[in-house]
Amino acid sequence: MIPAGFEYHRPGDIASAIGILEEHGDEARVIAGGHSLIPMMKLRMAEMGHLVDLQAIEELKGIEVGSDTVTLGAMVTQHELITHDGLAAAIPLIREAALQIADPQVRYVGTVGGNVANGDPGNDMPGLMQCLNATFDLSGPDGNRSVAAREFYEAAYFTAREDEEILTRISIPVPGAGVGQAYEKQKRKIGDYATAAAAVMVGNGTASVAMTNLADTPVWSESASAALADGDVNGCVAAMLDAIEPVADNRGPVEFKKHVAGVMLRRAIDRAQNRAG
């Protein structure tokens, strides 16, 4: 469990970080909290000549809670998401979900940027961000651009982000008052990824539902969301079950996962509806 060697870089701003990525191409990789990347490196499933540590870049830090929009710096840790009271008041769903990720040690260092950029179907934040209709800001050699979370994921570990781009900030529209939110996750134990997880927002005639670890990308379903907005819970669940494509693994066979997906979704809907008041 020893990673291969690399050169270490700790740039102080985004531009220098991009410079290093440009210089070394696919020989370089950024590291945030490292709690997805380092395990892969130790298994030698990820090897690179240059590791670009983002920790010293101030522009990537900080949580800003505006009246319409919340923005999260890519380097905000899960621990910071949980302990930020303003954020919890604006979008309680984020704290609720973050508490169900990994364990305390991992949450101190694991970042929201790393979690959404990673592209692992097991990560919880991507589905959450799709549910919240977040936008990811990317900076690269060719400048800045924004990609909707719902457009970002292409396949396992493949995203709309180019190798030389850095995910800098995440912007999330603050759901209106009267919108209930809930995150439901089934896992085998603390520290495990989801057997199935559901993120739900509902209220004011709108709804959004997304699910995690049930396909090679997070699954946000437009038709499931629309059905729920119409108050059709069964229709919502049916549409979502149609959209997911779970595979069998140690957590169980496909039929089980589909069943649990339905259960998690219904439970999340139920709680979100109650919270919508």
Partner: protein, 805 residues
Amino acid sequence: MNDQTLTPEERAANLKGMGSSRKRVEDVRFTQGKGNYVDDIKLDGMLFGDFVRSPYAHARVVSVNKEAALALPGVIAVLTAEDLSPLGLHWMPTLAGDKQMVLADGKVLFQGQEVAFVVAEDRYIAADAAELVEVEYEELPVLTDPFEALKSDVVLREDLEGQTEGAHGPRKHHNHIFTWEQGDKDATEAILAEADVVAEEMVYYHRTHPCPLETCGSVASMDKVTGKLTLYGTFQAPHAIRTVVSLISGIAEHNIRVISPDIGGGFGNKVGAYAGYVCSVVASIVTGKPVKWVEDRMENLMSTAFARDYWMQGKIAATKDGKITGLWCHTTADHGGFDACADPTKFPAGFMNICTGSYDIPTAYLAVDGVYTNKAPGGVAYRCSFRVTEAAYFIERMIEVLAIKLNMDAAELRRINFIKADQFPYQSALGWEYDSGDYHTAWDKALKAVDYEGLRAEQAQRVEEFKAGKTRKLLGIGLTHFTEIVGAGPVKNCDILGLGMFDSCEIRIHPTGSAIARLGTISQGQGHATTFAQIIASEIGLPADDITLEEGDTDTAPYGLGTYGSRSTPVAGAATAMAARKIRAKAQMIAAYLLEVHDDDVEWDVDRFAVKGAPERFKTMKEIAFAAYNQAIPGLEPGLEAVSYYDPPNMTYPFGAYICVMEIDVDTGEWDVRKFYALDDCGTRINPMIIDGQVHGGVTEALAIAMGQEIAYDEMGNVKTGTLMDFFLPTAWETPNYITDYTVTPSPHHPIGAKGVGESPNVGGVPCFSNAVHDAFRPFGLVQSHMPHDHWRIWKIANGLGMHG
């Protein structure tokens, strides 16, 4: 504090002897991070070894190319079977009478098998070099199912081809290892044929792994000048390792010093001899430098000793009113690629013949067939005495299955079949003599403590609510009454590699009245340094705080067979008491001399000998110790020390009654332990605090095993559960609180009446959790379902019973 003014009770309390919840002396080091575990050992010039392992479960090794690895700066050597064979060390004997490859000799038989050993200046270079070793494999058909293996043409062990006789009798097929039979087959089958009721089931106890938090490792240091080999390692049986190393390496035993430093948990994992140990020794001999090998967690789970993997076909016969008349069991035991089970030689299936459990079953028969497959070798006693947890699981499931067949309450069925208190010593149908027990008292106490009837009423109501659609949660009440057999064992029938399974203790009293004791065992968290000192304190009246305890260094400790199978208290604990009694006997003579009376005219009083009828005339043990060194006492040698090698006359038979209340969500398969009550009877209780701790830990391991912990393979023989993400170890969050309780039925043949407890909770816990799951579904028709009861398997039960619409 004046001795004269203290009551005997106060003086006894000051000793912190048996029965005291004395705080552990080990903890002062451990809590400060000052333990000394094998990976903490650093010797001058030490090199590091790492394995190249097979990615395939069954393959021919066509070639191994070391060139690129050897070219890497800092790489000292790359060893393969070819390098070891001139020394005769490419294979090694197993504890079970088989042999095992140290490094792949032409083929590999399981995924993760050791192919080459890379030795480098540090572990980073070793890891880089291991990547550079090029091995060419030719894949062979893989057998992961023992039933298939017994039918297959594929020969796993080509080295044994044509051998129809194994270490334990005839082999029936090229993938068959042994058949072991106990009891009366014909009589049992006759009873089954005529019985009112026969229940039959396949009970599978899945493959799992002890997975102590510290993995296995060793540091070998061959001193070329003195010719002495020092071997540090995670050894639960250091003396046996010394003997084995001597036998296979040819180094004289007096030139080998084996040291078990602090051990970060063993649970059976550290009983066996592993390729890493041998390779570190060879590498040290070859390089002339100390060599460390420490496996990582994935290597540990993949390649070192697994546990269980028993397919137990059972039949149990009873009268209409529930009196059991016979028990039949045929077990198919998956031993993996080599038979490396750690059992006493004459017991290839361990003490599986304790499978009549706590019940008075007049006639029984057991047969076990050992089978080779493409899985890792092992078959260790994982926190249990040899195969006792399999036996307990089997009988405790069969009782439940029979209760269903009879439509009886399972608690009542147990009660009417328990061996009665007045039947002890009890001769079991499969050949054991149970030393003592009072099962009815324990059982009634347990049922009352949890309000068993109240629970059943609640369960009945829950079933109604479920049927009415008011809840999706079921309530399961898990029952278990287990009988363990521990303390292996009497030399007349228990040996490992021909070494009798006695144990030993040597005590030396210093002139100022403190002492050192050395044992042949080794603590892995059981707190020997604390509890054995307590035994001595009670026996010879010196405070436990003044007694140092040493274990694990074969140069200083007397020979012993080590710590596993809950044998330390029954065997080494007895040796300790016996050695202490020898000291007390000599102390009595010294006291009598000093008091100028006849030996018989003094009597023992907590911490002193006093003149009979004149308690104010006495000599304390402290005074006696001093006299032993500074006075010439006619007829007595100076000094005060003793050694005892204890060969137990019998095993001990701890028992217990466990009850679990579990909530089960039928839609997700999630479970929640609402209550767990554990009553243990381990005979005399030496340290109640430590006993409770052992129970908490053992039940938690049982929870893990029953509810998810599994070494699973796919059809290609790939290990699917190689990390702690997939190999289920519960965190504090999933683990419940436990209620502990006890009765005390001392062992009549043990010097202090103690039976041993470390493993009971695992033996009793697994069936208890499993029975709770089964019990929740019993009202809906479930009879038998296999462990582990992880979410999806529980869900599958519910699904199979039509609970998902």
